[in-house]
């Protein structure tokens, strides 16, 4: 194999289309107090939220861009040119697809959402730019007392639960982008699962960016009450634009005593998207929070899902796959904060760098001195496809005390030319051989996914690899 020339324009065509939409509500470009007032007025929000947003705006403006440790590419985000709120067809999502405006409905049909909903989901929320166009939960699941709705509706309809946990797992000032989200948030899901209820099928949200120069700031809050179980999946796409698009979400999970939350992301952003997301879960006694995170596409992704294990025997897990295509930077990882005895955490991260793609792993594991019987296992493996591909690992592990254990394994491997020749000798093209190698590399992780998502992920990898050999 000669070192393969990568093509700049990686083909991930499924999400790359766009229908023209007339927006009824547009907050214009730039973010200031007036923008926030506009959003609050349009959404009819209570005063405490207006104040919350304005406080967040101050923090956002105060905080420096984290370029002292992260990529300088962040400096290329021009906040004044971004549009912070766009919606069409009002702020109230529809309960049936027939009510969804035609052009928006066409978009989601093309992405296969209504079909997936019929086949294997307990509920779906479909967000188009700033607002959910559709939100529905299967009747049987609703009857169990499960609440699944947009966060805008939830803060009005269930203020007692919403307000109790909103912004508690991830404080506004956690980082510059959590502050930005807290100022401008719109859309995202709210889920509450009552004690002991196990939701048998996944709930899904789909986030679609349609507009150019736009920022999507959804806010998701999931609460699993004692002994409850829920799986939530999110997918995301955007069309390819010449200008930068910003996606900056905040996701907070709360697993009360003995509860289990599994959160699965398969993102497929186009290469112009800055994807800067803060995700964290709180696990109380005997509770479990598991993040399964697949990052494909985007220009720069910065995302380190975390679990704070606050109750005894709580468990946290992050399974992460990142594919950095040509010109892309996947800066991903995990945070595990042990805050009670006998808590265990597991991080498995696999990254693939193609062409000039760069994959960065950042991991934080914290076990303080006073705790006993805590365990962490971290594995991070990187696969480099081309000689121009890059990978970096920045683990920050602080394990104190004598009764705690931590193990960390890291590896970097390369698809060798002999391996490719071997596979070609069996009749596979170079692209097929690459694709099979990459799928083999992530295979043990993909097996943990629901079937529909592992098929989707495999297809995305095939498309990436097709574009990577010339």
């Amino acid at each position: 194999m000669s070192d393969t020339q990568t093509q700049l324009d990686i083909d991930r065509e499924k999400g790359n289309f766009r229908y023209d939409v007339d927006y009824e509500f547009d907050a214009g470009t730039g973010l200031n107090e007036k923008t926030i007032d506009y959003i609050c007025d349009v959404k009819g929000e209570p005063d405490w939220i207006r104040q919350f947003r304005k406080d967040a705006l101050k923090k956002f403006l105060e905080k420096p861009m984290p370029t002292h440790w992260a990529s300088h590419d962040l400096e290329n985000i021009i906040f004044d040119k971004i549009r912070y709120y766009l919606s069409q067809g009002g702020q109230k999502p529809k309960k049936t697809w027939d009510e969804v405006p035609e052009d928006v409905k066409r978009t989601f049909e093309r992405l296969g959402i209504p079909e997936q909903e019929r086949k294997f989901l307990a509920g779906v929320e479909a967000q188009f730019d700033s607002e959910a166009a559709y939100s529905n939960i299967k009747e049987a699941v609703g009857k169990q007392g499960v609440i699944f709705m947009g966060s805008t509706d939830a803060l009005k309809e269930h203020p007692e639960i919403f307000r109790k946990w909103f912004g508690k797992v991830i404080p506004t000032g956690d980082n510059k982008f959590s502050a930005l989200n807290s100022a401008a948030f719109s859309g995202g899901s709210f889920i509450y699962v009552p004690p002991g209820v196990k939701v048998s099928h996944p709930l899904q949200a789909y986030f679609r960016i349609n507009a150019e120069n736009f920022g999507q700031f959804e806010r998701t809050l999931i609460i699993a009450d004692e002994g409850a179980e829920v799986t939530y999946m999110e997918g995301c796409t955007a069309p390819k634009f010449d200008t930068a698009t910003l996606h900056s979400a905040v996701v907070e999970l709360v697993a009360l005593k003995g509860a289990k939350i599994q959160y699965i992301t398969v993102q497929n952003w186009s290469n112009n998207v800055f994807n800067l997301v803060t995700k964290r879960g709180l696990a109380m006694e005997d509770a479990e929070v598991k993040w399964i995170d697949c990052n494909i596409g985007s220009r720069l992704t910065m995302k380190y899902p975390g679990v704070v294990m606050k109750g005894r025997r709580a468990r946290g897990e992050v399974i992460s796959i990142a594919l950095a295509g040509d010109g892309q930077h996947q800066d991903t990882g995990a945070k595990m904060v042990h805050a009670a005895d006998e808590t265990t955490s597991n991080i498995v991260s696999k990254s693939i760098s193609v062409g000039t793609g760069r994959a960065t792993y950042r991991g934080l594991v914290k076990i303080p001195r006073h705790l006993k019987g805590c365990k962490n296992n971290t594995e991070c493996d990187a696969l480099l496809i081309n000689t121009s591909s890059r990978t970096d690992t920045y683990p920050a592990i602080s394990v104190r005390g004598t009764g705690n254990a931590c193990q960390h394994e890291a590896s970097v491997s390369q698809v060798s030319s002999e391996q490719i020749f071997y596979m070609q000798q069996r009749g596979l093209t170079e692209a097929q051989a690459m694709s099979l190698s990459v799928n083999g590399f992530v295979n043990d992780l993909v097996r943990q996914f629901p079937m529909e998502y592992s098929v989707e992920l495999k297809r995305l990898i095939d498309l990436e690899m097709e574009g990577s050999v010339g």
């Binding site: 194999m1 000669s2 491997s413 060798s416 030319s417 002999e418 391996q419 020749f421 071997y422 596979m423 070609q424 000798q425 069996r426 009749g427 596979l428 093209t429 170079e430 097929q432 051989a433 099979l436 190698s437 799928n439 083999g440 590399f441 992530v442 295979n443 043990d444």
Partner: protein, 254 residues
């Protein structure tokens, strides 16, 4: 009958010439053995036929049924019917044998046609039984953590599944104990037939007791210096390669 014809082939890697005017005609229905001392270019010949990118053909030709394959990619050659059982097979972490072979067979079907899963597994199990491989093998990653014997058996399993027109077996006997050698040879012999031509490359005569060739060629310094029937292999076994190398050494002026 089809022919794999090597015509006055000169091959270099970097500045070093390895094959120096090698000619050979392998028709289907026959098994040819190539023997020779280490470094004579035997493995190079196999890799060049398969299209390994490290080697440059400086002159001569390789013809598959009259058509030159020099410009074809390795995968196109493979799909045309050339199979190489590697001396050192590569590991493919995370890719199971069942999935790998399935992908390889799928690559041979016209676009839009799907491999029939039931038939595929029936055939796979039949060939595995032939090679005395336990069923659990299908879910192991290709060559990952395999013993030498398992790797060679896996190569022959692939050959049995892909049913090539011309099979090149590169030192298939190396690293095999006598029991494994018998199983592998049995597998290879069962694939002999009028539709298949085989080129068996080996350093030792031992393998040829089990895979009996129709013709034996002795290769020294990048060309064939003597051809004959299987008795030639016995002569090599008894007398070593010295008799063959000496005149060659004189001929090239060493």
């Amino acid at each position: 009958m089809k022919h794999l014809k090597i015509d006055n082939l000169h091959v270099s890697i970097g500045d070093r010439e390895i094959l120096r005017g090698l000619s050979l005609d392998l028709p289907t229905g026959q098994v040819h053995a190539i023997m020779g001392p280490n470094g004579s270019g035997k493995s190079t010949l196999a890799k060049v036929i398969a299209g390994h990118p490290d080697y440059t053909v400086t002159s001569g030709d390789i013809l598959f049924d009259g058509e030159s394959i020099l410009e074809m990619e390795p995968d196109a050659r493979a799909r045309k019917g050339i199979f190489l059982a590697f001396q050192y097979p590569s590991e493919i972490p995370g890719v199971t044998i069942a999935n790998f072979l399935r992908a390889a067979l799928q690559a041979r079907l016209p676009e839009g046609e799907e491999l029939e899963a039931t038939e595929y597994y029936a055939k796979l199990y039949e060939k595995m039984d032939l090679l005395e491989m336990p069923r659990t093998f299908t879910s192991r990653a290709v060559n990952e953590g395999f013993s030498g014997g398992e790797k060679k058996r896996c190569e022959i399993l692939q050959m049995a599944m892909l049913q090539p027109t011309f099979a090149l077996l590169d030192e298939t006997d190396s690293g095999l104990d006598i029991d494994a050698l018998k199983i592998v040879s049995h597998g290879v012999n069962s694939l002999r037939g009028p539709e298949t031509g085989m080129l068996v490359i080996t350093h030792y005569q031992r393998l040829l007791n089990y895979i009996v060739p129709d013709f034996v060629h002795v290769m020294v310094n990048g060309r064939i210096v003597e051809s004959g029937t299987k008795e030639l292999a016995l002569k090599l076994e008894a007398e070593g390669y010295d008799w063959a190398t000496e005149p060659e050494a004189e001929a090239v002026g060493v």
